[in-house]
Amino acid sequence: MLLLILTVFVGAPLAAWVARFGRIQSAWAAGLVTIVAVLQLITLMPAVFEGETLIHQWDWMPRAGLNLSFRLDGLGLLFALLILGIGLLVILYARYYLAARDCMGRFYAYLLLFMGAMLGIVLSENIIQLLVFWELTSLTSFLLISYWQERADARQGARMALAVTGAGGLAMLGGFVLLGHIVGSYELSVILQSGDVIRAHPLYLPTLVLILLGAFTKSAQFPFHFWLPNAMSAPTPVSAYLHSATMVKAGVFLLARLFPALSGTPEWSALVGGAGLATLLVGAVFALFKHDLKGLLAYSTISHLGLITLLFGIGTPLAAVAGVFHIINHAIFKASLFMAAGIIDHETGSRDMRRINGLWKYMPHTAMLAMVAAAAMAGVPLLNGFLSKEMFFAEAVSASTHLRLGWLLPATVTVAGVFAVAYSFRFIHDVFFNGEPVDLPKSPHEPPRWMKVPVEMLVALCLLVGILPALTVEPLLTLASSGMLNQPVPDFDLALWHGFNIALAMSVVALVGGGLLYVARQPLFELHDRFEHRLQAKPLFDRTIGGVLGAAGAITRALDTGSLQRLVALFVAFAAVLGISGFVASDSPLTGPRDLLPVDGISLLAAGGLAAAALATVIMHRQRLVSLILIGVVGLVVSLVFVKFSAPDLALTQLSVEVVTIVLLLLALYFLPRRQQPDSHPGHRARDVVLSVVAGGGVAALAWAVLTRPYDTIADFFLANSVPGGGGTNVVNVILVDFRGYDTLGEITVLALAALGIFAMLEGLHLKGPTRDDEGRPWSPDMHPPVMASLTRLLLPLALLVSAFIFLRGHNQPGGGFIAGLVTAVALIMQYLANGVAWTQSRLPANMHPVLAMGLLVATLTGLASWLFGHPFLTSTYTYLYWPLVGKFEVASAMVFDLGVYLVVVGATLLILIHLGLMHSASHQAPADTGDYR
């Protein structure tokens, strides 16, 4: 079954790709894919007909109850057949329907995606998986409805369908989670057996309501029906597919699927039956008044979905069987009607029934087909619609005996029946008779031969099922019903003639009444025209959506005024309030029990210097260069603090990062004014001073409180396991490349991506720099003073040696790939500083992308290599070699990983700094290079 669904999903890009070779080829590909899927389904059929329920399952996250599991029983089989069968006909039909300017590949790709999602719904065993496919149908139907993207009504209709069905899907997710909570499993086999538990549970009602919201929105039940008529802006093949056999049937499928689990309570009857009855009536009445051919069919679809829902709502097994039967019949006649409407639209250029009249003369063949299908829709004897409608009337009558005011149910149902007959009459009479066509864009004629074939096949089915039900549909219906009910199927009789009974009387009333109603339609139309503008759901929907968007926008604008100062102030204020209130509420002392360490003069001096430099940075922050120098002091003292508290790795990293930061900021400073005028309001400054003192004091107090308390860390574990587990005595490095190697791999990937992102942003950007320094003096004409150039050239090998030294010893002593990488990068940057871009790039390849790629590749391959030895990703190993002169020497696979880190750091740092530097190479021209010191 997985294969079946995969076939369809893989077929989608295939159909899109094949479209390069021609429009017809794409249709063939889509058709072949569907046929392959049908064949796969047929191989599974014998087992299902023997009464088996096929379940194929693959564990994914079994402890969370999430599995990939598929289920094929009678109900699933029936729906899969409908989806694939009508899908195949729609593919054939669309081949002739779509105009030359429409992109075939895109259409068939969407259609197949949608088909796959629908199959996923009806074949799912796990309800969460079902929901995923459910949402996929919402998304793919959005793509299908908005297929004519250039049309505003198509886009709006698609958006409305997505909003309504998507919201329903969200509600349904809640319902499914509750259902899983009640039952303890997300598997349908368990859920369907637990009907009694579910119905007795206190959470039954919320569960039911949430799931029904999902089903009703999808099936366009009143009051969520309004999206369906608006979705009529889709191409007609899409309407024929979505609104006959698939999309809207997903909702009633869900009702059928969960029928054994949820039905049989007063709540179920009230909600499902009530919604069904209202939808039945509303749909039937509105259908009569639509002048648009597809609009009529849309409302009739709503009405028939209401009928099916009502049957499930009645709740008896026999009614549910009738519901399934009507699902089949409706799929058949509605698909053919939509296709016929599409043909008429295609050949006349209009869908307005006030203009298309008298087509019998021009397209008798199509007219005959459409009339038979419309008669089936009306429930005329000898056609399939009659049989299920009779069953429906009979069930409505028998259900009414249990209800107070029970006679209302058959009465309302009969009224709906009258309207159904009337709109079917209108479909036939208005379109094919009723005088001559009025002002049509095209002169009508018969469509191409093969465009009618799908309609013919469906109409033939209408007749076959209607005349010989026992031979055609009965085995499948029995099978589907047994799959749905999870219990023996009640006896039902699909005979044409049941004798004179109430149901027959209702049918007769509906047929005669419908005819009379149509004859007397004019006054009703006038009444409708007068009130039509009040009954439009679209403006209401648009207003609601507009209101929600407006409210969201207002909230966003109220919080985010585009001022960073304001956001930071709010953030800091909230942090301070929360922190202080938390501390006050906790009632614990500020100073913990730990003894304080002795203070020495040098530490005092360092702390004083740190505080003074930090303060001075704040005070002089408007003189940018000075504040940069002061930040350099802060960084230096911080690294001294790291040294003092035995973190040499951190100190080395801090020192390297410090100088890279200075270079980076200097590059940026070039474009900024050296002095910045104070621009903030005095009131704001007062606020900021208070805020920063409170927040800074709070952090200081917090640090004090934490540092004076003894606490256990995971450091002991790493200290104990560093040598036996990672083979290195430098715990920091072993954590980076071994214990947390996976994190490091992620981090270097991010670093590489950041570097590429910066590269992409700076690419081609040239800014103008100032021509004089901030005191108005011209820049020194000497670009590369020879003393500096010669010195830094000498320094390069030494710096690289330091880098290699730090890299090699990293695993056991302070150092490692990250620091070594920074040192190398700084050594190379120094050449750019002192010798210039031209000199350096003629000796060193400027393109750093291969270095980044190499680094990531080396790191990843090191991780993958452990798979060769059957260990998990990034398992490290180490051994000891004896080299002459050096002696015992450790080699760890983590060092290769560290090499990857090294390469990425070098590549990223150089890439960023050099491209920042090159950004203004064009801004002030260098004097002619004498080159005498080269």
Partner: protein
């Protein structure tokens, strides 16, 4: 003996750091501050080496080595900025 020498050395280097900090904060010109930062680097190296002697450990010497290297680059970059504005050209 070494202890007395260490105390004297720490005091002197500490004084030097204090003076450098003063110059750094006081300025007044940018070259003054850059030079002060460079001197601070040198003093820091001295402090680290003294600390290593005091604790009898050579684990701090890499930090001193790195300060020597990095401090130089930082000073070069700042000076280049004063001279030309554009440091990578």
């Amino acid at each position: 003996m070494i202890d007395i020498a260490l105390v004297i050395a720490f005091t002197l280097v500490g004084l030097a750091v204090a003076f450098t900090l003063y110059r750094l904060l006081r300025g007044p010109s940018a070259p003054d501050r850059i030079l002060a930062l460079d001197t601070l680097y040198v003093n820091t190296i001295a402090l680290l080496v003294l600390l290593g002697i005091h604790l009898g450990s050579n684990i701090y010497f890499e930090a001193a080595l790195l300060i020597a290297l990095m401090g130089f680059v930082g000073t070069v970059a700042l000076c280049k900025f004063l001279l030309r504005g554009d440091i990578i050209e």
